[in-house]
Symmetry: C2
């Protein structure tokens, strides 16, 4: 946790409603530091449906491997998350640690080990002493409470400067269902599947297959459209749990992925995922500004997204934003290096509503003062039109500041 809170932090937190069927508890297990909350446990007293998306890293953490292997079973009873150690690149010891943690959790909750989900965040390559969980999970499972979302979000923070929570509601069969989510960043954030750790719970009754379809569809324009530093974590995990408690209030379970009754739920879920994803960007390590990059007129949507990410990941673009410098030439550079089709002489670029370039050259009416005024905002919209087709994408990033370098030049020690 950094000493100063990001200037882009939310001005207030939403009041997080209780979601029937999930209880949470946190503890200080001494994973890395003494007397610091570093474990979160979620307990589903009745089996919950589960869906998940994970890092595309070829070197995933042991917990990611563990979750992936449990997912086909489709049922969750417990989630154990720790900060301070990622249990990644820990070899046989890492696998043993996940097994021991799952065993401890299954005994604490009274469930099968393949109904346990695990996530770890922190340093890569340090063996994780899973015996530290054994002493705390029993008590946590017993004492967990439903009104604990903000504390849960705090427990999983690493270099985050504020906890990330969001809540939405939707109707299925005329029954109001709630979706709550928490997330943590704040570096090693790049879209290549779900980014960082995030856990979302709903009381809706939705079968695993339908839940997975909703999550997989929702992640593209949200968590997979944000980047802090282009570095994809070994541990990225986004999970969605459905307790089914709404069934008692009359919601008939949704079984099929294409069930039209899910439309409202999907929209609310996507909105919540975007909320959480943007909170992650706004708390990017050292971030002082958020940049929304929209690319239009590309050959297709995939090309638009690659160009948008080329801009959003460019150190030169991000340092210019940090310096409030309307250096649109670096946007041209980033478009050019993306490898995607671009016609220099059709390119147009806007900062906010200020068009700075058109037809492959500086806008004839270019005003440095107007462009600079946009750069001085906290939120900076950048738009690039390629004039080639209908492809379109929006991604979000933050600026690259000296604080990012300071945070990451001395993180492990």
């Amino acid at each position: 946790m950094s000493g100063t809170v990001s200037p882009l932090a939310p001005k207030s937190y939403p009041s997080m409603p209780v979601i029937d069927g999930v209880r949470m508890a946190t503890a200080a297990a001494g994973i890395k530091y003494k007397n610091r909350t570093d474990v979160l446990m979620m307990v589903f007293d009745r089996p919950a449906s589960v869906a998940g998306v994970f890092t595309r890293s070829k070197c995933p953490s042991a917990p990611v491997d563990f979750c992936r292997s449990n997912l086909p079973h489709g049922v969750a009873r417990a989630v154990v998350v720790n900060s301070g150690n990622a249990n990644a690149f820990t070899g046989a010891k890492g696998r043993a640690a996940t097994e021991l943690t799952a065993k401890s959790a299954s005994e604490a909750v009274g469930c099968a080990e393949n109904e346990v989900y695990l996530a770890s965040t922190g340093v890569i390559g340090e063996p994780l002493d899973a015996t530290k969980f054994s002493g705390v999970l029993g008590t946590m499972a017993k004492e967990g409470t439903g009104d604990f979302w903000l504390e849960a979000a705090k427990a999983i923070m690493t270099t985050d400067t504020y906890p990330k929570v969001a809540t939405r509601s939707a109707e299925i069969d005329g029954v109001r269902v709630t979706i709550n989510g928490i997330a943590k960043g704040a570096g090693m954030i790049a879209p290549d599947m779900a980014t960082m750790l995030s856990f979302v719970v709903t009381d809706a009754a939705i079968a695993p297959e339908a839940l997975q379809a909703a999550l997989s569809a929702g992640v593209g324009p949200t968590f997979n459209a944000v980047t802090v530093d282009s570095d994809t974590s070994t541990s990225d995990t986004l999970m969605l749990f459905a307790t089914g408690a709404a069934e008692a209030r009359g919601q008939k379970p949704v079984l099929a992925a294409d069930d039209q009754r899910l439309a409202g739920f999907r929209a609310a879920l996507n909105d919540l995922l975007k909320d959480l994803a943007l909170q992650v960007v706004r708390d990017g390590e050292g971030a002082r500004k958020m940049v929304e990059v929209t690319v239009t007129g590309a050959e297709n949507d995939a090309a638009a997204k690659r160009i948008a990410l080329s801009i959003a990941n460019s150190p030169l673009v991000k340092t210019a934003v940090a310096g409030e410098d309307a250096n649109w030439g670096r946007i041209v550079m980033a478009v050019g290096k993306s490898g995607e089709m671009a016609d220099r002489d059709r390119l147009a670029i806007w900062f906010g509503d200020v068009r700075v370039a058109v037809d492959g050259a500086r806008d004839p009416g270019y005003s440095e003062a107007a462009a600079t005024a946009v750069m001085q905002q906290e939120d900076i919209p950048v738009r690039v039109d390629l004039g080639l087709g209908d492809g379109r994408a929006t991604v979000w990033t933050c600026d690259l500041t000296k604080e990012y370098v300071a945070i990451n030049g001395d993180y492990r020690s």
Copy 2:
């Protein structure tokens, strides 16, 4: 030009021999600043063979377009290089500026306009006032001298903290030939074709086709294996000129690309290109350390290079190097995100001679002190073995420091 010289600067400059057939002059044309040397002119009194490699950017600068269109002619009489303005993304005005500059140079030297080569470096998107060249090129063409390499290198600097020169010699037909080169960086440096600006001249007699083959082959493991910030410039230009003056000393012209007599020349050229490329990295914006990343045991050489670049471009790896932090977990992360085949459980990692990870976990004999000692060096060798095949590549980069952010947050103003 930054106030402080990079700590990685060469301790001394080589004495640069004169190369018969080329003369150089510099001038202060007031492109961006007053009273600052900002133009370099090279003159070949007899037609020289020419070869070139350029940026792969889809938004190349006007001078890059201009050089590319002249290259098939194969003959050079003049080169005009300016700093302070890249003449990139300048539309029709940019093309007009290259044409006017070529016309001024052709009149000054007495050659055709397609025997003129141009390069510009500096801000993107600002119209370049080419009339400023008209007044100086005539005098430069007249007063140019052969003993002027260091001054030439100084004239093309932008954020460079030291001039970059190198010289080598080789034998063709038992005749000693010389190769001299200059280069400039120091940001927006990433390998995707020749990087930044570099001009190399030899007195050997080599036809354009053979010269181009030698240059294209040499650029892969040298200029295309260095990265400062993953940002590919719109203006990257590397040109090689052969004056043919050695013919008077008995060297028979080399016509074919596969002529075995070129072996020694190619080796000397590659060595010189590597020397210049490493000088560019060692002067990367804000650089305090150089990192040599070697990947072995990859599926093939191309995969090895992509993994090596994924490591070398990772902001988290580069900030860890800046902080002298032996954070090898970030190497694992960068291998994992590269998209290339990797088997976590076969991975081994070295910092210098210190093996820090093996078989997918921390080395049993890991010594933090030994690893940290390597990180405290100026030059840090990192090796990753994937244990999959024979693929191998080496790339070079520098650390990412607060100074990089400072330089680039406020470059344009």
